[in-house]
Each structure stands twice: as structure tokens, then as C-alpha cells.
């Protein structure tokens, strides 16, 4: 298994390299630059700035410089948030995004699997239809609607919870953004679980287990769940990577100091280095979570065990 992990990590290096190269050039092909503002700068000032940030050099040289610095862990200064390096910005914001994302993931996973299982066990009942309708609503209502509605109800009308901000980081501040972030994913998990659980419940080994007279709870939790969770687990990797690298929408609505907005703001402001930093980070998260999920897969399904 160690060999498998090492092999996968080694193959991540060229993947990252390709991701970095493509995003570097894609960013540069977008018109404008980090210093083209609504209020354009006088040409002489622009020249000073371009020289300072070495943006006056040929693109290939900028690329070589960027790669050789990045390899040493230096992702450069942010062109827009000039008092900070990209590493500082991400370092400051990432813990907030990860904490929020982790709790949202937990809520989505536990809630989604529970609801999906209940729906599958009561297939075609009123309960099933209600859960699935809710799940449809959850996936179709975007979180830029859910977020403000939650705030309106809980913060403005009833004054129970804060309308935004991280505050002291207590659960009160986390609750609403966590729900807004988790809801669409919770719905996906519920649908996935329901579908695969129904399939699993009709499998031969479940029929055998039932015929042996095993209690229904054991049949569902130990035997059916294991197979039913496979599609859920494969969805877990992209979902975890997305939630834990922050959501631009939810972080903006609830004014959370995470890194979700840096990708969007960085791209809009042509903050080349900041975009590259977030791209690398997201790529690493995706690679790591995919690896973790593959390992979990092996635990659940003996057929894909990595020896």
C-alpha cells in the first residue's frame, strides 16, 4: 500500500506542473493586467510598476522565474494585496475555509447518508417523496439565495445568530454559513445514497443475510451500507476539495475571511500570482483527496484493494 501511495504522489508532480503551466499562460492571455484599473495609471508610473514586478520581461522568462521560485515554495507577492505575499494570504485564510468546509462536509455527509438511507428503506412512501423533494430543492436553490434567506430569518428578524463575520470563531458564527454551504452537497449525498442503497438492498447477499434471519438493522448497516457507500465515497473527493478550499459565494455572503474569494477576485483583478497560488492549492487538495478516497474505496471494496 505504501508503494501505491508513493506512486500516486510521484505522479502528482507532473500533474501539478501541467496545471501550473496551463493556468500561467491562460491568465496572461486574458486582456488587461493587474494594474489596468478603472482609473488608468500614467504611462511613466505604469513603467515603474512593471519594472518593479518584473512584468516588463518576456513571458517565457517570467514563467521560468515563477516556476523556479514556486519549486522553492515562493509563490511571489500578491499584485493586488501588496502588503502580503501569496503564501501569507493563503496561510491566513485557509484555516477559516478548512474549518468551515470540514463542518459543512460532515453535515452534508452524515445528514445526506442518513436521509438517503431512510428514503431507500421507505421507498415510494410519503417520507421518501418528501426527502427526495427536499433534496431536489436543495440542489436547485443556489446558496446565494439560501444564505441571505437564512440571515434574514435568523439574524435580522429573530436576532438569534450573527448575520456574518467570523467573530470569535464560535459555533454561532459557523452555523448559518455551514448550512448554506452544506445544503446542496447534502442533497447530492442523499440522492446518491438512496439510489445505491435501493440497489444494494436487492442484491443477492442481502437476500441471503435476510434469509439467515439477521436483524434488519444489522442487514442494512453492516451489509447493505458497505456496498451502498461506494458511489458516495467517490463523490467525497471532489466534494471535500471544493468545500475545504472555500466557497467564494458563501464566504462573500457571510463575510468569512477564507480563501474562496481569492480565486475569483484574483482572476478578475488579474492578480496572476494569487490565482496561481489558489490553483496550486486546489490542485493539491484534489490530488490528496482522490488518493484518500481511493484508499477508503479499498477498505470498502475488497476487489480494489491496493497491496
Amino acid at each position: 500500500m505504501l508503494a501505491f501511495v508513493l506512486r500516486r504522489l510521484a505522479s502528482a508532480v507532473p500533474t501539478l506542473f501541467i496545471v501550473v503551466t496551463i493556468s500561467f499562460f491562460l491568465m496572461r492571455f486574458a486582456p488587461g493586467g493587474p494594474f489596468n484599473l478603472e482609473r488608468p495609471l500614467p504611462p511613466a508610473t505604469m513603467e515603474n510598476i512593471m519594472r518593479t514586478y518584473q512584468l516588463d520581461q518576456p513571458l517565457w522568462r517570467q514563467y521560468v522565474t515563477y516556476i523556479s521560485n514556486a519549486v522553492q515554495g515562493d509563490f511571489g507577492p500578491s499584485y493586488i494585496y501588496k502588503d502580503n505575499t501569496v503564501a501569507e494570504l493563503i496561510g491566513k485564510g485557509l484555516p477559516y475555509s478548512m474549518e468551515l468546509g470540514f463542518f459543512a462536509l460532515l453535515l452534508a455527509l452524515v445528514g445526506g447518508v442518513t436521509l438517503g438511507t431512510i428514503a431507500a428503506l421507505r421507498q415510494n412512501s410519503v417520507l421518501d417523496f418528501s426527502i427526495m423533494s427536499l433534496a431536489t430543492v436543495g440542489t436547485t436553490i443556489p446558496n446565494f439565495v439560501v444564505g441571505p434567506v437564512l440571515t434574514l430569518i435568523f439574524a435580522i428578524v429573530f436576532s438569534l445568530l450573527p448575520a456574518g463575520g467570523w467573530g470569535d470563531g464560535s459555533f454561532r458564527y459557523l452555523l448559518l454559513p455551514m448550512i448554506a454551504l452544506a445544503l446542496p452537497q447534502l442533497a447530492v449525498f442523499a440522492r446518491l445514497t438512496r439510489g445505491s442503497m435501493i440497489e444494494a438492498l436487492h442484491a443477492d447477499h442481502i437476500r441471503t443475510a435476510r434469509a439467515y434471519g439477521l436483524p434488519p438493522r444489522i442487514v442494512v448497516i453492516t451489509h447493505a451500507m458497505r456496498g451502498a457507500l461506494l458511489p458516495v465515497v467517490s463523490y467525497l473527493a471532489p466534494c471535500a476539495a471544493a468545500l475545504m478550499t472555500g466557497s467564494a459565494v458563501v464566504e462573500t455572503i457571510f463575510t468569512i475571511p477564507g480563501i474562496g474569494r481569492y480565486f475569483v477576485l484574483g482572476a478578475l483583478n488579474r492578480d496572476y500570482t494569487l490565482v496561481m497560488g489558489t490553483v496550486v492549492l486546489i490542485a493539491i487538495f484534489v490530488i490528496v483527496f482522490n488518493l484518500v478516497v481511493d484508499l477508503i474505496y479499498g477498505l470498502l471494496d475488497p476487489r480494489v484493494r491496493h497491496d
Binding site: A30, P31, G32, G33, P34, F35, N36, L37, E38, R39, P40, L41, P42, P43, A44, T45, N48, I49, R51, T52, Y53, I80, Y81, K82, D83, N84, L89, K92, G93, Y96, P148, T151, L152, A155, I156, S159, P162, A163, G164, G165, W166, E251, T252, I253, F254, T255, I256, P257, G258, R261, L268, N269, R270
Partner: protein, 532 residues
């Protein structure tokens, strides 16, 4: 005796518990919504107003704006201007101190101004101080830094020599780029001088903490010369770029001040919060530029006709819910040194009469109904309000001239990069916010020598000559007259069609006192206080 002693000590104990449990004085904290994350706290790098609000609380320039937006002495208690108007001698306050207790000196100012003009600093707003002798040459790498026209005569006397008389120079000194840095701190800490725990500042407040996109906390600077009159103990700036989110946090009573919110909320908010909603006209103009290098926009009649056909009242009322004011001049009203701007002559006509006149002009030019077909492309930077304005204007031009109007939008960087690089276009949206309260700041946009900002490539030697004359004119009244004449040419030729004078929208909680709306949009926290 024993029981009395017991009672006494019990009372003393109770008293001390009560005293300890309630703070002696409640801290006065202002929760200030600030419309976005500051990109920098370095006075040489700053370029936007949300940074200015923070920097002007932290630092104090030679001159500052009072609560009403009027220039008053800041770190300098007084100054004299030489007869010829080029030498300013500032007397710094004896008791002006940095937050670390060291005195604010003329050497600090000399160092700060040279730092801004040093090309290595790559200051975005280096041009704010270009009126200073040799500043532009130094910044362009054509002169030595030592030749900058600034001099510390002694510790408390600072002298500035200008290239030429600059009537608005005291305004420039109140810009955030002209704020001083502590020479000792910058020399010791380098680029880190802006960080919490390191920053040394001379304003009414000092920096305590900064979590990007969460909060920036400043507390009262006890070393400030006027600390006795600073009523707030702490100001928390919330960098919220989502306007709806900041309104929600105001409504949840988490914010006392909110800067900028969506105009379509004005009516609802006015209903709910009445006079806590402030709409304050500002020194900013929203305009459409015509590309004078392209036919038919090289024809003054076409430009005039198109400009006249825009119903500005509709834009102001229906699209901006009264948060903007119809504009007929590039220079906005409210400029103390300039007075009433020279408006376009059609400003006095009714919209129906304007349309009739516009049709005539267009016919003369040979376009529109019965003439050559009129195909117009409006370019604007992506933004819901700009889109609504473009849609409305397109509709007006379709209805009036039977023109075929298309719209193109690009994100803000691409849009301005295109215009700035001299790209060809038909009609393009642009905006200008005053750097300093002087008409020259707006009029100079249309100088033929202004390769960057003159999007429409306007080239009128008569206009250029009037502007040149105004730079040499020392008498304020004569200068104002020259500028008015120059603006009259713009209003006649319409290289740009001014559409709206922008307003700043603020939510100011009832808790806050000392607030005054002003066109300069200057609101130093030291003039504010809060009640519980």
C-alpha cells in the same frame, strides 16, 4: 463590634465584586463597514478610497479634511506661501508625535515625499505630488531624488518648492499619498512597516490587528496631539465587498456605518431606517466617451445629438433611484474653488425639445432617418447598473434616431485596458472620481497630450491653450474663469457626454454622532462618536 466589622467587610467584599464585574467605562467602539479589503496600507501604494478611510485615521498629513470636508491644518499647525505662490513653509505642531512617542519631524515628511517619488517605490499615485519641483522628472528617472523640492529647514519647519503656482496644492497634501511615514520605522522595518505590531503612525488611531477579509482594528493613539478630543476608543473596519452582505449586517445591528450599497435598496431602506440613509453627491462623473477618431463620431453634430437624446432624469430616477444626479457638465457641482460648472446649453431645454433639436442636428449630419444608417456599439465594464444604463441609452437612441445599437461588455480590467491603449470604439462608458477638489482634475482628461485618459482622442488646440494658460495663472478668479471657458468648449463639443453626477451612499446608524455629508466624501473617525 464584631458583627459590625463583619457587616462592614461583607459590604466591602460585595462592593468590590460589583465593581469588578462591571467595567468602569464602556469602551466606545465604532463598527465601520468599509466596502472592500484594502490592497495595501502603504501610503506610496494606495489608490482607492477604502484605503484612504483607514490610512487617514492612522496617519495625519500636513493638511486634513474636517468633518464637513473642508481643508484644515493637520500635522502642520500653520503655513505661509511665498508671494510668487511656489514656496510653502509649514510649521509642524510642537506636540505632534508618532504612536511610539517620538516626535513627528520635518525630516519624516522629507523622507516620505522622496520615497513616493523614487521610481523604485513604483508609487501608483506619484502624480499627486507632481506639482512639487522636479517630482515628475525624478519619478520618470530623469533627475536625482535629492533634487526634489522639499526641505527640512529644522525639525519642525518643512519647506516645499513647487514647479509653478498650484492653487489646489493644499488639497493635494490631504491626499493619502501625502501622508507621512516614520523615517525611523521604514528604515528599520522595510516593507513590513505596514504590519500590525510594527506600524508606527501619527494619526488619531493606531493599528492593532488586521485579518484580511475579516476585520482591521485600530485603537485610539494616546500620543496624538489632539487625543483629548478623540471620543472613540476603537474603530473596527469591516472590509465587506458584498454590498448586500453589509446591508444585512447593518440591519442585524452589527455595523454602525456602511459605505456604498446597491441603489435599488434606497427606497426600502429609507422606509425602514429613514434618516439613517445618506445620499451625498460627490465629486465624481459618470460619462460616455465618443471616439472622435471614428466616423460619424468625428462630427460634432452627431455627438451633440446623441448626448442630447439621453434622458438623464430617467437614468437618475429610474435606474439609480435618485442616488445619482443628472449631469450636463464634466466637472461636478460642489467644487468650492470653481463654483457652478459650465453646463451644456441644452441643459435648460425640456427633454422633448432636446430630442427635436437632436433630430435636426442628426439630419444635418446626414445620419438616421432618411440619411445614412446609424449603427452604434456601446462598450461598458460588466456591472448590473452599467448594463441597465446602456440598455436605457440604447433604447433612447433607437427611439429617437432609429439607430441600431449593440452592447459589448468586458470586465473592468479589460475594458479600461482597451480604452487606455487607444482602442477603437464607438461609445464607451467611463467614470472619474476627483483626486482633489479642483476642476482641473476633470478637465485635464481631455487634453490632446493626455494619451491615457483622453479615450475619445479629443484634440482642440483652443481647449489645450486655455488649459495651459490656467496652469500659469496665479489669480484664483482669473484661473477659474479660464477653466470655465475651457469647460464651455467641452460642453459645446461633447467629446464626452456627461450623464450623471455620482453620489456616495452611506448608512449611518443613529448611534453615531458627528457625521456630516460632504462632497469630498471625507469622514475621519476622530470626528465621530457613538452612544450606547
Amino acid at each position: 463590634m464584631t458583627s459590625r466589622l463583619l457587616k462592614l467587610s461583607a459590604a466591602a467584599l460585595l462592593g468590590s465584586v460589583l465593581f469588578a464585574s462591571a467595567p468602569a467605562f464602556a469602551e466606545a467602539v465604532l463598527h465601520r463597514g468599509n466596502a472592500g479589503e484594502p490592497q495595501t496600507l502603504d501610503q506610496a501604494q494606495t489608490s482607492i478610497n477604502i484605503e484612504a478611510f483607514i490610512l487617514k485615521d492612522l496617519y495625519e498629513g500636513l493638511t486634513i479634511y474636517d468633518a464637513a470636508g473642508k481643508i484644515i491644518p493637520g500635522a502642520a499647525e500653520s503655513w505661509t506661501v511665498s508671494e510668487d505662490g511656489v514656496t510653502y513653509t509649514f510649521k509642524l505642531r510642537e506636540n505632534a508625535k508618532w504612536s511610539d512617542g517620538t516626535p513627528v519631524t520635518a525630516q519624516d515628511f522629507e523622507f516620505s515625499f522622496k520615497r513616493v517619488e523614487d521610481p523604485k517605490t513604483a508609487a501608483k499615485y506619484a502624480n499627486i505630488l507632481y506639482p512639487i519641483k522636479n517630482a515628475e522628472a525624478i519619478n520618470n528617472g530623469k533627475a536625482e531624488i535629492a533634487t526634489l523640492g522639499v526641505k527640512a529647514v529644522d525639525d519642525k519647519t518643512f519647506q516645499i518648492t513647487l514647479e509653478r503656482p498650484t492653487p489646489f496644492f493644499l488639497e493635494l497634501l490631504a491626499h493619502q499619498t501625502a501622508l507621512p511615514v516614520s523615517k525611523a520605522s521604514v528604515e528599520k522595518n522595510g516593507a513590513d512597516f505596514v504590519k500590525p505590531g510594527v506600524m508606527v503612525s501619527n494619526g488619531a488611531f493606531k493599528l492593532v490587528s488586521h485579518v484580511p477579509n475579516d476585520s482591521l482594528v485600530v485603537t485610539k493613539n494616546e500620543n496624538h496631539w489632539d487625543a483629548a478630543n478623540t471620543k472613540l476608543d476603537k474603530v473596527i473596519f469591516y472590509p465587506i465587498d458584498d454590498q448586500a452582505a453589509s446591508v444585512r449586517r447593518f440591519e442585524a445591528k452589527e455595523m454602525d456605518l456602511v459605505f456604498n450599497f446597491s441603489a435599488d435598496q434606497i427606497e426600502r431602506l429609507r422606509g425602514a431606517y429613514k434618516d439613517q440613509v445618506h445620499v451625498s453627491p460627490t465629486l465624481a462623473t459618470y460619462y460616455y466617451a465618443f471616439d472622435g477618431a471614428q466616423a460619424p463620431y468625428d462630427d460634432v453634430r452627431v455627438r451633440q445629438a446623441l448626448s442630447m437624446a439621453v434622458d438623464r432624469d430617467f437614468l437618475a430616477k429610474e435606474i439609480y433611484s435618485g442616488s445619482q444626479i443628472p449631469a450636463y457638465s464634466l466637472v461636478p457641482p460642489g467644487m468650492a474653488s470653481y463654483g457652478e460648472p459650465s453646463k451644456a446649453d441644452f441643459a435648460t431645454l425640456s427633454q422633448l425639445d432636446r430630442e427635436d433639436k437632436a433630430l435636426e442636428l442628426m439630419k444635418e449630419a446626414g445620419y438616421g432617418e432618411g440619411g445614412k444608417p446609424l449603427e452604434i456599439e456601446i462598450r461598458y465594464n460588466t456591472n448590473p447598473n452599467h448594463e441597465r444604463v446602456a440598455t436605457a441609452v440604447a433604447d433612447m437612441w433607437k427611439n429617437t434616431f432609429n439607430a441600431k445599437v449593440t452592447m459589448t461588455n468586458l470586465d473592468v480590467s479589460s475594458h479600461y485596458a482597451y480604452l487606455q491603449e487607444g482602442g477603437k470604439f464607438n461609445v464607451a462608458r467611463a467614470g472619474w472620481v476627483a483626486d482633489y477638489a479642483d476642476a482641473e482634475n476633470f478637465l485635464a482628461l481631455n487634453l490632446s497630450t493626455n494619451k491615457t485618459f483622453n479615450y475619445g482622442k479629443y484634440n482642440n488646440p483652443e481647449f489645450d491653450a486655455l488649459m495651459q494658460k490656467s496652469y500659469a495663472e496665479e489669480n484664483p478668479e482669473a484661473r477659474s474663469k479660464l477653466l470655465h471657458e475651457a469647460e464651455a468648449l467641452l460642453s459645446r463639443d461633447q467629446p464626452v457626454a456627461p450623464l450623471l453626477t455620482q453620489a456616495d451612499l452611506w448608512l449611518v446608524s443613529n448611534r453615531v454622532s458627528g457625521w456630516k455629508d460632504n462632497a469630498a466624501n471625507e469622514h475621519l473617525s476622530r470626528f465621530l462618536s457613538v452612544s450606547e
